[in-house]
């Protein structure tokens, strides 16, 4: 069997099993650990697909930066005592999850959005590296959305600082 096929099956098995763990582990710390496992497996899948830039970013941003946020908050908020999964919603989620799966399967199998064949022809695509192609597109055609994304991050940072700061108690107030 080809190596990429083996890699796909191993990594996707890890990703799916860890995702089940994320949803069903009672302890929230185990959920976050499973999330890290899922994210690293997904970054391996990106490498397998040839998207090395996205795979590296997946590890750097998701598996390090975002998960650190979650660990920080979990260490501040005490462990919630009680059942983690609500049985009545578990029963409710099964049909809705199945409907969502059918919908996704229908759209994927019948290719409702299938349109063009991309802007790069296969031989050009093989000449330039993937990272170069992504960066070229990001800094030319999608420059404005890129700047807007930086603005969104700035606003999110200011909002998080405002939300996270302690309420200042007014001295001698009414």
């Amino acid at each position: 069997m080809e190596l990429s096929v083996v890699a796909f099956w191993v990594l996707s098995a890890i990703a799916v099993l860890s995702a089940i763990g994320v949803v069903f582990f009672k302890n929230i710390v185990y959920s976050v650990l499973s999330l890290i496992s899922t994210l690293i497996a997904i970054s391996g899948l990106f490498f397998n697909l040839g998207a090395e830039l996205i795979g590296a970013l997946q590890i750097l941003i998701y598996a390090v930066a975002i998960v650190v946020f979650y660990v920080l908050v979990i260490s501040t908020v005490p462990q919630y005592k009680g059942e983690a999964v609500d049985p009545k919603y578990a029963l409710l989620s099964a049909p809705f999850g199945f409907i969502l799966f059918l919908e996704l399967a229908y759209v994927s199998v019948y290719g409702l959005w299938a349109s063009n064949t991309g802007i790069f022809s296969p031989d050009i695509f093989n000449q330039i590296s993937n990272a170069k192609a992504v960066a070229t597109l990001l800094f030319t055609k999608y420059l404005f959305p890129f700047e807007v994304a930086s603005l969104i991050l700035l606003v999110a940072m200011i909002g998080a600082i405002l939300l996270g700061r302690k309420e200042i108690v007014e001295e001698g107030g009414a």
């Binding site: 080809e2 990429s4 096929v5 990703a15 799916v16 995702a19 089940i20 994320v22 949803v23 959920s31 976050v32 999330l35 899922t38 994210l39 997904i42 899948l45 990106f46 697909l49 998207a51 830039l53 996205i54 970013l57 941003i61 998701y62 930066a65 975002i66 946020f69 979650y70 908050v73 979990i74 501040t76 919630y80 009680g82 999964v85 919603y89 989620s93 099964a94 809705f96 969502l100 799966f101 996704l104 399967a105 994927s108 064949t117 991309g118 802007i119 022809s121 296969p122 993937n130 992504v134 999608y142 890129f146 994304a149 991050l153 999110a156 909002g159 998080a160 600082i161 939300l163 996270g164």
Partner: protein
């Protein structure tokens, strides 16, 4: 090479799992983590279609999704901290009113 349909199927599985997680869990932090699973499922689908179509636009959009995920984590967790400070709880069953 693995056919891209397999990646799309994996993406669908992860999407459904994240969706179930948002419905089933009672802890707000766990619901946010399940949202991250759904975002990752979308990322896999984007990159898989890129490889199928010999394109990189999907990977550019993965950039934007990463940005939004980071912003969402910062704001969402800030909100959770504020809610916890007010209500001393992160159980959605008990957070039924917005009034502090």
């Amino acid at each position: 090479m693995v056919p891209y349909e397999y990646y799309v199927a994996l993406s669908g599985f992860l999407m459904v799992l994240g969706f179930i997680g948002v419905i089933v869990r009672k802890n707000i932090i766990a619901m946010l983590i399940s949202t991250e699973l759904m975002l990752n499922a979308v990322n896999i689908a984007f990159v898989a279609f890129d490889m199928k179509l010999h394109d990189v636009v999907g990977q550019v959009f993965v950039f934007f999704i990463l940005t939004i995920a980071a912003a969402e984590a910062a704001i969402g967790l800030g909100l959770i901290m504020a809610i916890y400070r007010m209500k001393k709880d992160v159980d959605v069953e008990k957070l039924t009113e917005l009034k502090g």
